[in-house]
Subunit: 228 residues, 2 copies
């Protein structure tokens, strides 16, 4: 019942999900600051550049530990290191991309992909006419070989860039191959076991959300008119 030591393990835990989604933004901005030879930054400045409030930034960073200096600010290098650490970017992650249509090719070619600890280690497609070809220097394997490819390369993250019809099936194949982190670009809701982490990137949804706000904007003047 007693925990021998709180240790990094226990304290490093308890990073709220909302914070996790913002850490990559902080990391990116810190990186560009380092490129500009900035060595120290205040929460006000960093927050301003990241588009969040200073209080939220400080609260977020407080979940990682106390890495700032009162009266001064944060060391860009130190903060970069600790955020990378928290996100698990100290080790490289293998990524397998399924679907090498235009989107899959764009993702594969995306330089700065590998930039931060991610390696595209394999490409897979169902279309026999592209299997065996090479995209951005990587051979394209058949869908039937996915299990072996994942095992051989040790890929931990799967990216689904297939048409909607194939996505659920591909998701199941990835899970069957042992992948438990999936990034889904196909416009479908994947139904997979709860211990599999699925994130989706959905063009149509994003546009619809923008459309909603665009519509709100159009209604706004009308609401004001009522009060006049």
């Amino acid at each position: 019942m007693s925990l021998s030591r709180p240790s990094r393990l226990a304290s490093a835990r308890a990073i709220p999900e909302a914070t996790v989604t913002r850490l990559p933004v902080y990391l990116r901005v810190l990186k560009s600051m380092a490129d500009s030879a900035v060595t120290t930054v205040s929460s006000d400045d960093l927050a301003g550049t990241c588009g969040v409030s200073p209080a939220m930034l400080r609260k977020d960073l407080s979940h990682l530990g106390s890495y700032g200096t009162r009266g001064v600010g944060y060391s860009v290098a130190l903060l970069t290191y600790h955020i990378s650490q928290a996100l698990g970017l100290t080790q490289p992650w293998g990524v397998v991309i399924v679907g090498v249509g235009k989107l899959g090719q764009a993702l594969t070619a995306y330089r700065g992909f590998g930039t931060r600890g991610f390696d595209v280690v394999a490409l897979v497609d169902a279309d026999p006419s592209v299997v065996g070809t090479t995209v951005s220097g990587l051979p394209v394997h058949g869908l039937a070989d996915l299990g072996r490819v994942v095992a051989d390369t040790g890929a931990q993250i799967g990216v689904i860039a297939t048409p909607a019809e194939a996505a659920q099936w591909v998701g199941e194949l990835l899970v069957g191959a042992g992948v438990r982190s999936i990034l889904n670009f196909a416009p479908v809701v994947l139904v997979l076991p709860d211990d599999v982490e699925v994130r989706k990137v959905d063009l149509a949804s994003e546009l619809q959300i923008l459309a909603f706000h665009e519509q709100q904007r159009a209604d706004e003047p009308l609401r004001e008119a009522v009060h006049a």
Copy 2:
């Protein structure tokens, strides 16, 4: 002080942001149910397919009005209509895509883009060697013409699919041209006026978030071991 009538205007307002982000998911699933000739669905079934809790689904839908039937469920057609209405999908929206590299081409070719009320009305790029060419049947205009292109086509939504270096500049050009809804695929934080709605799609961030959870998973067994 008295509002003549609550009307659709007042009641249609007050849709929480969290709900708005889920409406596109509901819409998509409803659509596929309609394709399967399903005419009625309960909140339990719909929620299950959408990957949310029935209570949340019902609460979300309650913000749009009372369009279900107690003891029965929701009419697929009626619900589809009202969600489309709420999202502002009854009118078509013009989309201008800036940057016709691999990603821009993938986005342009994305069928089902126009499917739900979105039209790619123009393509723009900075590279003189692609300006004047045709992509998926649309001519590519020069960046200098962006203002005129937006005015001519009436585009309301801008998509940034350029390299990171160009994104801020392109964002400012879009805003200058009157666009106030932007979908940004470039890995940078755009700094634009507050009345501009910016949504970002960020591959690196998504992968980093997955990496975080993958790392957590690796730590989990260790935490259990402490208790043993």
